[in-house]
């Protein structure tokens, strides 16, 4: 299967923890950017004409900061270029404060059938710490608006491990989120990325992050509360009702093929991974001049690609299918790793069944240490 990713690199403000390709204050550039994306779309070469695209994902940044007059035509252009499968999953990321019931209804109308709302927290002080512009009231309105607009495949994105957060306030956020009966929940532990204001604050000792024990409690609580609400833990940070897992992301974790358009976007087709320039204006200029916005390309050899598929695939709770790997690379995990797998199994870090290789619950907590052996 193949997916398509569309990147919208604009936000209303830059959050102090964010390392995504996103820029505030670029309203002027938006129409030009939308045109450039359409042009890039037109240049894409479809690899296997017969198989339709199964998933489309507009991410950011904040896609919904684009007025619907700019946004919807992009989806139309995608449909014109590619044949989409009948039940294609068409997702958009949205942030509170950039959506109304009306705008969401128009998006739904345009065929977008999944929405991922970047709520982050239902606690005003935590939203403040995270540098988010809206408060809980607006966040609630956004959820209600999405539901009212007819999105029956709704995901809520949350962040935990926020400065000043306690297991109790995280539980409140979790529980309120689940009270809206979303189909999907993403719970990301806050990561301090190099070069962000949070990283500087941490350097200075100005970031009161919750301690290890609190984080451990939050981890356990998250799994527990989601499970009792009927959401299955299917990837390190993701939970869904059965059948509502994000198909677009699962394709990433299976190291599948995906097209991409937009600044900073990465595509990967037949083992050829291409990264586009991050600067939206440079992106526009390159596309307008008929040049490719791709600035970096990577072609992995078979073994590196095999190992990469293993380490990303292990993020999913089902692990990786050995048969899939054999079909794709002609190689089984035992051929590649040999005795290492025994050691990891003895250490209680992985489980090797006749069909799958997966991390144990414990192995998942220290996934990087385990995956660093497998990469």
């Amino acid at each position: 299967m193949a997916g398509l990713y569309l990147h919208i690199p604009f936000c209303s403000s830059k959050c102090p923890y964010c390392s995504f390709v996103s820029f505030p204050g670029m309203e002027q550039v938006m129409p030009r950017y939308a045109r450039a994306v359409e042009s890039e779309l037109a240049t894409l070469v479809r690899q296997e004409q017969e198989t339709p695209i199964e998933t489309v994902f507009a991410g950011g940044g904040t896609p919904t900061i684009l007025p619907t007059e700019l946004l919807i035509p992009l989806f139309d252009a995608i449909r014109k270029k590619f044949s989409l499968a009948a039940e294609a999953e068409i997702s958009i990321e949205a942030n509170p404060g950039t959506v109304t019931r009306e705008s969401l209804a128009r998006l739904r109308q345009a065929g977008i059938n999944r929405i991922s709302l970047g709520i982050q927290s239902f606690n005003d002080s935590e939203l403040g710490k995270l540098g988010r512009r809206y408060r809980t009231g607006v966040a609630r309105q956004a959820v209600m608006a999405a539901k009212a607009a007819g999105f029956d495949n709704l995901s809520i994105d949350l962040i935990y491990g926020v400065p000043g957060q306690s297991p109790a306030t995280w539980r409140q956020t979790l529980e309120e989120s689940l009270s809206y009966v979303p189909q999907h929940l993403s719970c990301y532990q806050l990561t301090i990325e190099d070069g962000t204001p949070f990283a500087e604050m941490m350097e200075r000792g100005d970031l009161d992050l919750p301690g290890e024990e609190d984080i451990e409690m939050m981890d356990e609580m998250t799994v527990e509360v989601c499970r009792s609400a009927g959401l299955r833990h299917y990837e390190i940070s993701n939970f869904a009702r059965p059948g509502r897992e994000c198909r677009h992301n699962i394709n990433y974790w299976r190291n599948g093929d995906y097209y991409a358009v937009g600044s900073g976007a990465v595509s990967c087709i037949s083992g050829r991974r291409q990264r586009r320039t991050e600067d939206p204006v440079a992106y526009c200029r390159m596309v307008e001049n008929g040049r490719s916005p791709v600035i970096e390309e990577e072609n992995l050899d078979r073994e590196t690609s095999f190992r990469e598929s293993v380490v990303i695939g292990m993020r999913m709770l089902t692990g990786i299918s050995r048969a899939d790997l054999v079909a794709r690379y002609g190689m089984d995990v035992q051929d590649c790793y040999g005795g290492l797998l025994d050691r990891l199994q003895d250490g209680g870090l992985v489980e090797l069944s006749p069909t799958h290789l997966r991390l144990t619950d414990y192995g998942r907590r220290v996934a990087n240490t385990v995956l660093a052996e497998l990469v």
Partner: protein, 598 residues
Amino acid sequence: MKHIRNFSIIAHIDHGKSTLADRMIQKCKLISDREFKDQLLDNMDIERERGITIKSQTICLPYQARDGQTYDLNLVDTPGHVDFSYEVSRALTSCEGALLLIDAAQGVEAQTLANLYLAMENDLEIIPVINKIDLPSAEPEKVALQIEEDLGLDGSLIQYCSAKTGKGVEDILEAIVKHLPPPEGDPDKELQALIFDAHYDAFRGTIISVRIINGTIKAGDVIRFMSNGTEYRVEEVGLFKFRREAEKKLSAGQIGYILAGVKTVRDTRPGDTITLRDRPCAKALPGFKEVQQVVFSSLYPISTDDYEDLAAALEKLQLNDAALSFQKDSSAALGFGFRCGFLGLLHLEVVQERLEREFDVSLILTVPSVKYNFYLSDGTKIEVDNPAHFPDPAKIQRVEEPFIRATILIPERYMGAVMTLCMERRGENTSYHYPMPGRIEFTCELPLAEVIYDFYDRLKSITQGYGSFDYEMLDYRLSDLVKLDILVNGEIVDALSQLVHRNNSRARGLHACEMLKEEIPRQMFKIAIQAAIGGNIIARTNVSALRKDVTAKCYGGDISRKRKLLEKQKEGKKRMKTVGNVDIPQTAFLAVLRSEQK
């Protein structure tokens, strides 16, 4: 001989020695500009990064002076660190003069003085040179005053230049011709050639740098090394131009090279005298000393498969580094390796870096040690430089450890701090005097073991870089030693054992535990670190278990980056040694010697 001048440049790091040498080479048109490579004299990576010359190189500059005559100016380069002060003194002995190069913006710095003293002891004529006069912050008058009043040098000889722009460089060359005496010596006497350096060349064998003091040498002569009596037939003699240039002969006063098919630089010892078999001189030149290894440490390859590579690398390195000694060693924790002897800690670090960089072997160094004398109850004496060979304490009658005399030059205001440091390090017999206003020369007798325990770093830090330090070996003195063991999860890691003075043992044990706690990354289980003396635990700490190590988010755009991060983590793990089930990073083994945390 009237047309020869032999000189070297004494300078503090960064005052512009290399730049000035390059300008002189250009001025003398030794090579075309196209061939001209920056930093010609200083061409090894490690040295350049640290700004120190370890292997000196010599160059012969043909200079057409204003008097119309052409002179051979031999510039002898010198290493600039205390570990190599013997090498510096040999290089200076082969000269009649020296340029004292001083940065016009920085002024006289303490470290320059040690070498200036060496030059004065060797009766060298000194020409002060004030460099970087092009800098806006330059204060040449102030520096000139310092030179005249503080150093007591002749102000009328001071040269002003900018090595960067080339201004004043010709005047320096002219001053060398005018003010430095030509060499003396008699070309007809018996040969006395002073070895001041040696390099190994894969094709020609050892290239011996010599100053001919008396006599003449030519291809075909049979030479004898006075220190060990070995003899070789001379294949070629010549001068160090940009490349080596063969000459018919070298005679008294000249500086040049000898090729005689000598297989290793170990046979050519700096300070040794070369004479002719058939017409030997009566006496060797004075000042020769055997190189003395004073610091010992074992080297182990991180991956045991690299043992053979390490052996080969050490042999290659030794071709060019006569001061390095090594022999086989083994450790329960680390497998097979080599016990090596070094001139000092800097020498040790240079060897480590060179092995890792040039020969691509990842290494673990064990805690460095000095050589102790143990007198046992059965009347025997043994020398021990390896904690693994610490004798049964019940059988030790007494122990002696090596002492040095440290000479420390500091601005007056650091006197108190330096005195305190020396006392902390078991210093004895301190004294001081004022070689110039505002400066103190402080001498102190210290156990060498305390000096290798990051003394130099501490000195630099408490004197804000103004302290210069030099030492000479004194004698062996009575000591009270214990063996400090480190246990990681209950297992003694022999490579972390140290021999320490009993009075310091508790503090060292605590410190070692703290440093290891910093260095050993958290792993999937709790790690106990303990320090013990003769089975008694004297300090302990823990590295708590790794609770969580997982990346929250990984989407399409991140995959490459995440893979690379994991690959990096994997590489990092390769630089660790697994002892029992604990991964100990390479850096941990030396960290126990650092007194301050990073």
